[in-house]
C-alpha cells in the first residue's frame, strides 16, 4: 500500500469526523423530535436546506457568517414552531404514519418555494475568510473550516446536553419522552413542551444546513440526500437516543470518508451496507420503537 501513509489515513479520519459532525447534528434533531413526539420528520431535510438558503440570503444582503450562525437557527426554529403548531398538532393521536406523511408533503412545498425564490440551480457558498486555509494538526494540514465544523458541533452538543440534563425544562423533556401521560397528570403543559422540542430540533437542522453549505454548496435538493443518509444513522444508532445518534453519526462519516479513500466508487453505497450489516447482526436494536 504505497502512498497510503499513516498520516493520510489519519487526515481522512478527521475529514470523516467533520462529515460525521453534520450527520450528528442532523440526526440529533431527528432523534429528539422522534423521542418526544414520536414524529418522524420527513421535512427535516427541507429545514436543513432552508437553513442553508437563509444563510445565503443573509450574506447576500450584507450579513456575515457569524450573524448567520445565530440568526439561521433562530429563524428556522421559529418556522419549526409554526409548523408544529399549525400542521402537526392536529395529527397527534391519529397514528404514527400521519405526521410522517404530512411532513413529507411539507418537504415538497418547502423545496418548491425555495426553487421559486432562488431558482432551480445551486449556488456556491463561500467559506468565511477567517476560516479559509489549513492548519497543521500534527499529521498534516487540515482545512480550518472542517475543524470549525467539528468544534461548532461539539459546542452545540455540549449546550444541548447541559440544557437536557441540568435545567428543569430539560428534566421535563426527558420525563415527557418517557411517559407523557404522567407528565401531563403532574400539571405540565405537554403540548407546549412538544412545540418547543420541535422548534429546537428544526433549529439544529437549520444550523447543520448552514454549516454544510460551505462544504458542498447549496441546492434545493440537498435535503433529500442527507435525509436518507440520516435514516441510516438513526437505524445504526437507535432512534430517540442522543448518544446513539452522536456515535452512529461519526461512524457513518468516517465510513464514507474511508471508503472514498480506498474505493471511491463505493463511497455512497458503503453506508447502506453498514446499515444492512447492523440490521442483520442486531435487528432488535432497531425494533424498540413504540408501536
Amino acid at each position: 500500500m504505497a502512498g497510503l501513509s499513516f498520516d493520510l489515513i489519519a487526515l481522512q479520519l478527521f475529514a470523516g469526523l467533520a462529515l460525521g459532525a453534520i450527520y450528528v447534528l442532523f440526526a440529533i434533531g431527528l432523534s429528539l423530535i422522534f423521542g418526544m413526539l414520536t414524529v418522524v420528520n420527513f421535512a427535516h431535510g427541507a429545514f436543513y436546506m432552508v437553513g442553508a438558503y437563509v444563510g445565503l440570503y443573509l450574506i447576500s444582503i450584507g450579513g456575515n457568517f457569524w450573524i448567520c450562525l445565530v440568526a439561521v437557527p433562530i429563524a428556522i426554529g421559529l418556522f419549526g414552531l409554526a409548523v408544529e403548531r399549525v400542521l402537526i398538532r392536529p395529527l397527534y393521536g391519529r397514528g404514527i404514519d400521519y405526521p410522517l406523511l404530512l411532513t413529507f408533503g411539507l418537504s415538497y412545498v418547502m423545496v418548491e418555494c425555495v426553487r421559486i425564490a432562488f431558482g432551480k440551480t445551486g449556488y456556491p457558498f463561500d467559506t468565511p475568510e477567517v476560516l479559509q486555509g489549513a492548519v497543521d494538526i500534527g499529521v498534516g494540514y487540515f482545512p480550518l473550516y472542517r475543524l470549525f465544523v467539528i468544534g461548532a458541533t461539539a459546542v452545540v452538543l455540549l449546550a444541548l446536553w447541559l440544557f437536557l440534563e441540568k435545567t428543569s425544562f430539560g428534566l421535563i423533556i426527558r420525563a415527557g419522552a418517557r411517559d407523557p401521560q404522567i407528565v401531563r397528570v403532574l400539571g405540565v403543559d405537554v403540548s407546549r413542551v412538544w412545540l418547543i422540542v420541535f422548534g429546537i430540533g428544526t433549529a439544529i437542522a437549520g444550523f447543520a444546513g448552514l454549516l454544510a453549505a460551505p462544504l458542498q454548496g447549496v441546492i434545493p435538493e440537498m435535503g433529500g440526500t442527507i435525509l436518507a443518509e440520516a435514516f441510516v444513522v438513526t437505524v445504526v444508532g437507535g432512534m430517540g437516543s442522543i448518544g446513539g445518534a452522536v456515535l452512529a453519526g461519526l461512524l457513518v462519516g468516517v465510513v464514507v470518508s474511508m471508503t472514498s479513500l480506498f474505493a471511491p466508487e463505493m463511497a455512497k453505497v458503503s453506508i447502506f451496507a453498514l446499515m444492512a450489516i447492523v440490521l442483520i447482526v442486531r435487528p432488535q436494536a432497531s425494533s424498540a420503537a413504540p408501536d
Binding site: 422522534f34 414520536t38 418522524v40 400542521l87 392536529p90 395529527l91 391519529r94 397514528g95 404514527i96 404514519d97 400521519y98 410522517l100 406523511l101 404530512l102 413529507f104 408533503g105 411539507l106 418537504s107 415538497y108 412545498v109 418547502m110 423545496v111 418548491e112 418555494c113 426553487r115 421559486i116 433529500g224 440526500t225 435525509l227 436518507a228 443518509e229 435514516f231 441510516v232 438513526t234 437505524v235 432512534m239 466508487e265 455512497k268 453505497v269 447502506f272 451496507a273 446499515m275 444492512a276 440490521l279 442483520i280 435487528p283 432497531s286 425494533s287 420503537a289 413504540p290 408501536d291
Partner: protein, 328 residues
C-alpha cells in the same frame, strides 16, 4: 388507521346495494372501466400513464393498505422492473414478452432483497429502512453505467411491433398500445382480487389489524410480511416493465425517492386499503397534474399542498370516503 382501511369482505354480510355488487365483481368492474377509459380521455398517452401508475399503486397498496406497513422504497421495485425490462431488450435482444417477464422477476427479486432486511425492523423504522435501501439501489444503478446508461438513463428500448400468435401488432399506434398494456393491467387486477379473496389475503389483513392475535393464531407474521412485500414487488416490477416499453427509455429518476413518494400520494389520495383506490388515485392525480402543468411549472408546490390537505382533512382518500358514504 382502522376506520380508513375497512376490510373489503366485512361489509358484504351487512349491507346490500351497489357496494356489495361492486365488491363481488370488483376486478370485472375495473376491467370494464379500463376498456372504455381511453374513449373518454383527451390524450391516450395520459390514459396509458394512468394505467401504469394505477398498477404501481395497486402493488404498493397491498403493503401499505392491506398489510399496514408504510414503505418509502417502492421506487426501487418499480425502477428495477423498468431497468431489467429495458436491459433485456437493449443489451440482450430479448423479445418483448420475455423482457416483461424479466421486469416482473426483477421486481420480485428486489422486493425479496429489500424485504429480508426491512422486515427485521418494526413500526416506523420500516419507512426509513426501505427509503434508505432504495436510495442505495439508486446509487448502484447510477454507477453501473455500462448496463443502465447512468445519469443519461437507458435509451433505445424500441419495440415497434408485437408478435402474438402469428399476428403482427403495431405498438406505435397509441390506441393499440393502450389496449396491449391494459391487458396486462387487467390481468394484474384479477390476480390481486384473487390474492385478497384467498385465505392468505385474510391473513395479511389479520396481521395488520392485530399482530399479536395473528401470531397467537399460529400464523408466521414475519413470513406473511415478507411474502406480501415480495408479491407487491411483482406488481410494481410489472408496472415498471410496462413503463419502460411505453416510454422507450428508463430515466434514472425512476429510482429516485420522489418516485416512492409519488405512489404514497396516489394511494392516499385514492384511498388506502381499498380495491379501486389506486386506480382512482392515479387517474385524479395524473389528470390534475396535466391540468395544473398547463398554467404553472411549480406543480410540486400544488402536489405538496394537496397532499398536506389530504392528510389533515381527507385521510380516507376519495374512494374511502365514497365507501363510507355508501355504507351509511
Amino acid at each position: 388507521m382502522t376506520e380508513t382501511t375497512q376490510s373489503i369482505k366485512q361489509p358484504r354480510a351487512t349491507t346490500g346495494g351497489w357496494y356489495e355488487f361492486a365488491t363481488r365483481h370488483r376486478a370485472s368492474i375495473v376491467a370494464a372501466v379500463i376498456l372504455i377509459f381511453p374513449l373518454v380521455m383527451p390524450f391516450t398517452a395520459l390514459a396509458v400513464n394512468i394505467l401504469i401508475y394505477g398498477l404501481y399503486a395497486l402493488g404498493f397498496n397491498l403493503v401499505f393498505g392491506y398489510l399496514g406497513l408504510l414503505s418509502f422504497g417502492h421506487a426501487a421495485l418499480f425502477g428495477t422492473g423498468a431497468y431489467l425490462c429495458g436491459i433485456a431488450i437493449v443489451h440482450f435482444g430479448w423479445p418483448w414478452y420475455a423482457a416483461i417477464a424479466a421486469g416482473l422477476a426483477g421486481g420480485l427479486l428486489m422486493a425479496l432483497l429489500i424485504g429480508v432486511l426491512a422486515i427485521r425492523t418494526r413500526g416506523i423504522y420500516f419507512a426509513m429502512v426501505t427509503m434508505a435501501l432504495s436510495q442505495c439501489v439508486y446509487y448502484l444503478f447510477y454507477q453501473a453505467v455500462d448496463l443502465t446508461g447512468g445519469e443519461n438513463g437507458l435509451r433505445g428500448i424500441n419495440v415497434r411491433t408485437i408478435d402474438l400468435f402469428g399476428l403482427r401488432i403495431d405498438f406505435i399506434n397509441p390506441m393499440i398500445r393502450y389496449y396491449v398494456i391494459a391487458a396486462f393491467v387487467i390481468a394484474a387486477f384479477f390476480v390481486m382480487s384473487r390474492i385478497l379473496a384467498s385465505p392468505f389475503g385474510a391473513v395479511i389483513e389479520a396481521v395488520r389489524e392485530n399482530e399479536m392475535r395473528a401470531r397467537a393464531s399460529g400464523y408466521d407474521v414475519t413470513l406473511t410480511r415478507l411474502l406480501t412485500f415480495v408479491l407487491s414487488g411483482g406488481f410494481c416490477g410489472l408496472a415498471g416493465a410496462l413503463q419502460a416499453l411505453h416510454l422507450s427509455i428508463v430515466p434514472i429518476e425512476i429510482l429516485h425517492y420522489e418516485t416512492s413518494g409519488l405512489v404514497v400520494m396516489i394511494a392516499l389520495l385514492g384511498g388506502m386499503g381499498t380495491f379501486f383506490g389506486p386506480m382512482v388515485g392515479a387517474a385524479v392525480f395524473l389528470v390534475l397534474e396535466n391540468i395544473v402543468s398547463v398554467w404553472t411549472v411549480h406543480w410540486q408546490l400544488i402536489v405538496g399542498a394537496i397532499f398536506i390537505a389530504c392528510v389533515l382533512f381527507f385521510p380516507a382518500g376519495i374512494w374511502g370516503t365514497l365507501i363510507a358514504r355508501g355504507k351509511r
